[in-house]
């Protein structure tokens, strides 16, 4: 507040004493600073992506495994040495790794990411067919997780120390301990194998790809796992944040003024907690994404998770590269977004080097 006031009076002075020129200078200065700020972020982003591409490229090429199997299937095992050489040459795997990387990079910069060895079509096409499913699962899961976490956190903080809070905390601690894959197995065992209510795998029944009802049925189990796997972590964080706020002096003042509990909670405490909540949301994207990948693999849900698992396992190099770059880009973008949110919403954070997650 004080700083804003100071800035205002500065402007005022400039205007009063014919400081029009100075004022304009200050404006361009601000613009410059802003450009420099976002330019720096962009540079960090591009640099990290470039580094990531080198690391992933080298690691994937040096890791043991035979990429020919993913292209030629079982035929690769029956190939003679000459035939193998020819096949490797055809896929461009004979040169040294550095030469391959430079070739990949020049192609990639022109928008050509090569073909997937397994699907034998353009990598982008393969990913384009799957990305919708992942976005649906992850996106809806994300919204549900953060909506419910906020609700639960406020509920617990409201009833702090009472039965409702204690029960929710206990149940939450237990659910946060359940590994995602095990929860998926148990849900499949109960709802798909024994009760036969819900399908256990895939995104739709064969031949009914366009039926939204069928798609929703297939989403229920994976979605439950994604949400329960992450919910308590964030709800507990919100709860503790609010409890911290409730111990501040301004709450006492608000109570003394005669404000209702509800307005103290929602107009004061929650408002103070929300900025950090937003940046936690941004940071959490990669973690929820990682969780989605596991769930997709267990439910053989045709999304990016199963795709990256397959491509890493069977050395589908081009596909693996693009998937890694995609995940990496999302991760880095989100952490930059979290920083920006912190600095924009709460000026105290700028330059303080504080992080939200403790």
């Amino acid at each position: 507040m004080r700083e804003e006031h100071g800035f205002g009076s500065d402007m005022h002075n400039n205007l009063l004493y014919g400081g029009r020129h100075v004022c304009f200078g200050a404006l361009t200065d601000g613009l410059l600073r802003k450009t420099a700020y976002y330019g720096k972020k962009l540079l960090i982003f591009l640099g990290s992506i470039f580094l990531l591409s080198i690391v992933v490229f080298y690691i994937s090429r040096l890791a043991p495994g035979d990429p020919l199997i993913s292209y030629y299937g079982e035929r690769a095992e029956r190939m003679g040495p000459e035939e193998r050489e020819w096949a490797k040459d055809r896929l461009g795997l004979k040169d040294s790794v550095s030469v391959q990387y430079v070739r990949w990079l020049t192609n990639a910069l022109q928008g050509d990411f090569g073909i997937s060895y397994k699907y034998k079509t353009d990598v982008m096409e393969v990913i384009g067919g799957r990305i919708g499913n992942t976005l649906l699962l992850g996106g809806t899961g994300f919204v549900l997780i953060f909506g419910l976490a906020l609700l639960l956190g406020v509920l617990c903080a409201w009833h702090e120390g009472r039965l409702a809070d204690r029960v929710i905390c206990q149940v939450g601690t237990v659910t946060s301990c359940i590994p995602e894959f095990w929860l998926s197995l148990v849900l499949i065992l109960i709802f798909a194998v024994n009760l036969k209510w819900l399908p256990s795998s895939g995104a739709y029944t064969a031949g009914r790809a366009e039926d939204p009802g069928d798609r929703i049925l297939h989403l229920i189990l994976p979605m439950t796992v994604v949400v329960t796997g992450h919910l308590w972590y964030y709800a507990y964080m919100i709860r503790n944040r609010i409890l911290e706020e409730l111990r501040a002096d301004y709450v006492l003042l608000a109570k003394a003024k005669g404000m209702k509990r509800r307005s103290v909670m929602f107009r004061h405490c929650l408002r103070n907690v929300l900025p950090s909540y937003f940046s936690i949301m941004a940071i959490s994207v990669p973690h929820i994404m990682g969780g989605t990948y596991i769930v997709e693999t267990v439910f053989s849900f045709p999304g990016l998770g199963t795709l990256s698992y397959e491509s890493a396992r069977y050395k589908d190099y081009n596909l693996l590269m693009v998937l890694c770059m995609l995940s990496g880009a999302v991760v880095i973008l989100c952490s930059l977004a979290a920083q920006t949110v912190n600095e924009r919403v709460d000026p105290r954070m700028a330059g303080a080097g504080r992080t939200v997650l403790r």
Partner: protein
């Protein structure tokens, strides 16, 4: 019980250097059951400089019951965890069968008198495997945590003691590593190391889990690195590791204890997830995770015991570790709420 809180103003005069007079106000609370006159009297008994400015009625809480030694402590979790740990360590005494023996005549048997928890799809006795495999799972959890915690302490302390530019660089690196989903890195690393065994998987899990602790260590070290005792030790020729071990670690160990305990938990989860997905330990290396990797077949035959029993043991252990960890996290929201 109702007591009256007399709010009094105390004016004391205090001379400062420049002969200015400062007035100090304070609230004096008198807990008494006396009424009316008695109260006045007791007020008058006090110094004449006190002046009653208001009376507030407060209800006093019942005198706090003396807490039993077990209240507020995770006794149940500690007992359950020690039972599981003792069972795993002394598995040779408990096991009824050889856990690695493939009993081809009795495969996929549901729990009965002979096979307490049934047998899996390869004919191994689950009851024996639980204890035998738990040993490996717990070992991986602890080994990975030891590795990650010591890496975190060394890295964090080095970063905390380093000049500003190096510190900034090291912390940016940590943040980047922290924002990558750990499991993906583990999968990638494990692929590089080739076929997994107990040591390599502990190494991979440990090496990917140090970032969070390192950040805490670094900020703690920055606060105490210029303390007299550290400088004194350095003047007397103490090396980095000597100072770290003798002077720095005892100061920050309590603040990373909680995270270290939670690291055991996430290491065990990581191992079981990896083994389940078929990237971690092979099926013949018995752990709780690799026991669950048979569950695909178990789903087909609807044999619930293969999935539920190892999982319940796993979760019981994790819940115990979590509640012990929460107990270690001191001073969270201990004050009184104003709400």
């Amino acid at each position: 019980m109702i007591t009256e809180r007399l709010i009094m103003r105390m004016e004391t005069e205090q001379r400062c250097g420049s002969n200015a007079v400062q007035k100090r106000y304070g609230i004096v609370e008198i807990n008494s059951m006396e009424t009316g006159a008695g109260k006045q009297e007791s007020a008058e008994r006090m110094d004449h400089r006190f002046e009653i400015v208001g009376i507030r009625l407060t209800t006093q809480a019942e005198p706090a019951r003396r807490r039993k030694w077990y209240e507020g402590r995770p006794v149940f979790a500690a007992v359950l965890l020690s039972v599981i740990i003792c069972g795993c360590l002394g598995c040779d005494l408990i096991m009824t069968k050889d856990p690695a023996f493939l009993d081809l005549e009795n495969y996929n048997v549901s729990p009965c008198g002979e096979f307490l928890f049934g047998t899996d799809t390869m004919g191994r006795d689950i009851f024996s495997m639980i204890w035998y495999g738990g040993r490996v799972s717990l070992f991986i959890g602890i080994a990975a945590t030891l590795l990650s915690t010591s890496a975190a302490i060394v890295f964090g302390a080095a970063s905390g003691c380093a000049p500003d530019w190096a510190d900034g660089l090291m912390m940016r690196m940590t943040e980047i590593l922290l924002s990558v989903p750990g499991l993906l890195v583990v999968i990638l690393l494990q692929a590089v190391l080739g076929k997994a065994n107990v040591v390599s998987i502990s190494f991979v899990i440990g090496i990917t889990g140090w970032m969070g602790i390192a950040k805490v260590v670094r900020s703690e070290v920055r606060q105490i690195r210029n303390s007299e005792y550290v400088i004194a030790s350095r003047c007397m020729g103490g090396g980095f590791f000597h100072i770290l071990w003798k002077h720095l670690t005892p100061n920050f160990i309590s603040s990373i204890m909680f995270m270290a305990v939670m690291n055991i938990r996430s290491a065990i989860v990581a191992e079981s997830t990896l083994s389940f997905m078929g990237i971690g330990l092979p099926v013949d290396e018995i752990t709780w995770g690799s026991m669950l990797s048979l569950s695909e077949q178990a789903l087909l035959t609807n044999s619930w015991w293969i999935i539920l029993i190892p999982g319940l043991f796993l979760i019981a252990t994790l819940v115990c570790i979590t509640s012990l960890g929460n107990y270690l996290r001191a001073g969270v929201n201990r004050g009184e709420s104003n709400f």
